[in-house]
């Protein structure tokens, strides 16, 4: 671990946690933490004329686990022309080979995030049964700190408890599952719909009954939200709503968001929201079919701006060839029917499912172009950037390596118009979206809120990540941009954020001039809930394993210590 002292000198500091916007100053680092000052022998890194931000925090990205790996296995062609396959430099310097574009290898994932100055990434959907594998992949991803959200919303235990209205038992089950899977929080993916998929069905609205379980998606979301607040977890429930990706789905989206109305948060981590709505772009569509498909970003954001106890991330379409993968099994089958490309489906007993289909977002295909505009509009209509986060739902709407391009589009109207002008159906895209009429250009401060302070707060991690206050983890990115001249040349924004001039992670320089110079010291973050024993849940879980409902023995279910060797544990105490 880094023990040396470092001082980053003379950069334009952008730190929304302390409301610092472009002041020229220094950042001092000692023992992997930010400190007030360091001795004169500290290593000096010159940041003059460049901007200095905290390490990035990604609230939602699919970077480890069985479905990511299914995607890698299914798409050898994704690696073919992916660049640094056998980079001589990497070999010489002792780094690992990198491959893949939309589903990069674990090494490329860690290196690319570091090159972009990201310090923390949340794996957005971990099937509990396959948590050991997920943790092995997380451990093999260098540099970045990671955590994973186990999926709960199609879990048989959860649906049975909530069907009987047993929030406390649900909470006890969540606490147990977070402990055995070393998970971080409660992910909700197509609540009820993925369970229905086992019967070849789906749940498209909040009131569609889940077969066998006699519960509705709305009841699952409400129940999990109550259980999450009962426990006081650092993160809120993290929701992928029903009816993803379909024209005219925005009323269902708003109906799901409304479930948070009147719910109060209860936690000790500084989190203010009770529901995080993820990849909102996929849920903000109007029209009755693909012919009159249109953006409803304004309608959705009008609601989000009013409702203060929810946060969102964008899920921006980046107009690339990518690989979609989600625990929303029925959606992937539906997508395969639309594009006829190869499809993988996985069922995870008692818990969840997953599907994988390659997809090409083509700027000349009208619905894709409208999706592109919708994602950006959500950010441009947002009033509180501390509740609005940049994601591409990697790799679903595009690879995470396109965040710098998304930032470029958000910061420069000229860049948006330039992309719009190259489309085949420019006029039709303009007619079906709002983007052409929006002049707003986000500032670097707002970008820092959306990629640093905001997501850290939403995850309950604001004491560690997302800011440059003394005591926080020394994750510091230096980007070659002139604060005084923004947006300036939009292309420069993309280049600067793609390859940090320097990135310090946990007090150690890991990237210099856009190249990785160290494999860093990554950590796996998870949440350990201490609460009184719940005999009912203990018995139910033990029965499920002993009666053979699960195909594995309970002794083989938990993530063993050696699979997550560098843990950072967040304790949560629940009193009886």
């Amino acid at each position: 671990m880094a023990s040396g002292e470092i001082i980053v000198k003379g950069g334009f500091i952008i730190d929304p946690t302390r409301k610092i916007d472009g002041d020229v100053g220094d950042v001092a680092i000692r023992d992997g933490k930010i400190v007030d000052k360091v001795s004169s022998s500290a290593k000096v890194i010159d940041a003059k004329g460049k901007i200095v931000m905290a390490g990035g925090v990604d609230v939602h990205s699919h970077v480890a686990g069985p479905k990511v790996n299914a995607g890698r296995l299914m798409r050898p062609e994704d690696k073919l022309l992916s660049g640094f396959c056998r980079s001589g430099m990497a070999q010489k310097n002792g780094y690992r080979m990198e491959s893949g574009f939309s589903i990069p290898s674990v090494f490329k994932t860690g290196y690319d995030y570091a090159r972009m100055g990201y310090a923390f990434v949340m794996e957005a959907a971990m099937p509990p049964l396959l948590a050991p594998h997920t943790h092995e992949e997380i451990h093999d991803t260098p540099i970045i700190d990671e955590a994973a959200l186990p999926v709960f919303a199609n879990n048989w235990f959860v649906m049975e408890y909530l069907q009987k209205g047993e929030v406390e038992n649900t909470a006890a089950y969540i606490a147990w599952l977070l402990k055995v899977t070393k998970g971080y929080g409660v992910k909700v993916v197509n609540p009820g719909g993925t369970a229905a998929w086992a019967w070849g069905l789906n749940c498209l609205s909040l009131n569609d009954p889940v077969p066998y379980f006699e519960i509705t998606p709305g009841e699952i979301i409400k129940g999990l939200m109550a259980a999450n607040e009962y426990l006081g977890l650092p993160h809120s429930i993290h929701v992928h709503q029903n009816n993803l990706g379909n024209p005219g789905n925005y009323p269902d989206t708003i109906a799901s968001l409304k479930l948070a109305e009147g719910i109060k948060t209860r936690n000790k981590f500084g989190r203010e929201q009770v529901l995080h709505s993820t990849h909102l772009q996929f849920h903000s569509y109007g029209g009755e079919g693909w012919k009159d498909f249109c953006s409803k970003a304004k309608e959705v954001m009008d609601y989000v701006n009013r409702q203060k106890n929810i946060t969102i991330d964008l899920g921006c379409v980046t107009l690339d060839e990518t690989t979609t993968m989600t625990a929303d099994g029925p959606f992937e089958h539906h997508l395969h029917g639309l594009n006829h490309l190869k499809w993988t489906n996985v069922d995870v007993e008692l818990e969840t499912a997953a599907g994988v289909v390659p997809y090409i977002y083509d700027k000349n295909v009208l619905p894709n172009a409208i999706q592109w505009a919708t994602g950006l509009e959500l950010a441009l209509f947002a009033k509180d950037m501390n509740r609005t986060f940049i994601t591409t739902d990697h790799p679903n709407a595009g690879p995470f390596t396109r965040y710098p391009r998304v930032i470029k589009w958000l910061m420069s109207k000229k860049a948006r118009e330039a992309t719009l002008a190259t489309m085949k159906n420019t006029d039709k895209v303009i007619a079906a979206t709002y983007i052409h009429g929006i002049d707003r250009e986000l500032t670097l401060f707002e970008i820092a809120q959306m990629t640093r302070s905001g997501p850290a707060k939403c995850l309950g991690l604001s004491s560690v990540y997302g800011g440059l206050a003394p005591g926080m983890s020394a994750d510091v990115g230096i980007f070659d941009l002139n604060y005084k001249n923004m947006p300036g040349d939009a292309e420069k924004i993309e280049t600067a954020f793609q390859r940090a001039a320097c990135f310090i992670k946990s007090g150690e320089v890991v990237v210099k001039d856009g190249e990785v110079v160290s494999n860093g010291h990554k950590k796996t973050v998870w949440v350990k809930v201490k609460m009184p024993e719940n005999p009912q849940v203990t018995r139910d879980v033990s029965q499920a394993f002993h009666q053979g409902t699960y195909t594995v023995d309970i002794r083989n279910y938990p993530v063993r210590e050696y699979l997550a060797p560098h843990q950072s544990i967040i304790d949560v105490n629940v009193e009886a």
Binding site: P76, E77, D78, L80, G88, L341
Partner: protein
Amino acid sequence: MATVTLNPTKVPELIFEGYSINPDAFAGKTAAQIAALPGHEGKIHVTIGDFFSVSGDAGATAAETDIVIAGDCSRVKYIGSKMTAGTVIVNGNADMYVGGWMKGGKIHIKGNMDSFCGIQMEGGELLCDGNAGNHVGCAYRGDWRGMKGGTIRVKGNAGNDIGTFMLGGTIIIEKNAFIHVSTHAEGGTVIIKGDVEGRVGGQMVKGEMYVLGKIKFMMPGYKKVDTVEKEVDGVRATFDHYIGDLGERHPKSKGQVVYANLYLKAAA
């Protein structure tokens, strides 16, 4: 026109990945510069000069550059891959990926060539006097976008997986082929002048296939619709016309369902 001659001097211990052996990489370079062009042997960086002596400078552009390899390249991969113009002649055998992803120009292999020749080819001509291995003009592993254009002519036999996921262009096998012809194809033409073991046109959506010999095992998804007389690559004959693969999805054009067509030479 300028001719660059490569004389093999050493047989690679592993396989030499000669991805720089194409007129586009050579264009505008002297013999010495060409010898310094990169390649891989396993994970080790090597140069063309490690395995060949180079004589003659290249032309200013790819179109003005002819490459002659005066000997065997059984352990050299990627000859002429991604080329856009000019010519490559190999006086012997070639290893895998000859003319892969090529867009133009002409390649002539005077011996045999190994698998994956002409994969995802978009244009140009690939001629082989001997036999070809497997995956002639098919898609890269996992990819659903196969050969789009150009011509591949193999004067001998070919192995399996010919024109998989083919979208356009022409493949001619003058002798026999093994299994899997035009699997998943959505366009293009494959002509087999000899016999085929089987699995011709499985899951094929669109495109043409001609077999002038026999098909030992016919796919069950093909239905004979009529008998036609046609001229194919200089041969005039009567063909039984089949459509298929009936088990696969098919697009509609002007209200008519479009099938793949298989023309099998009628028994005399």
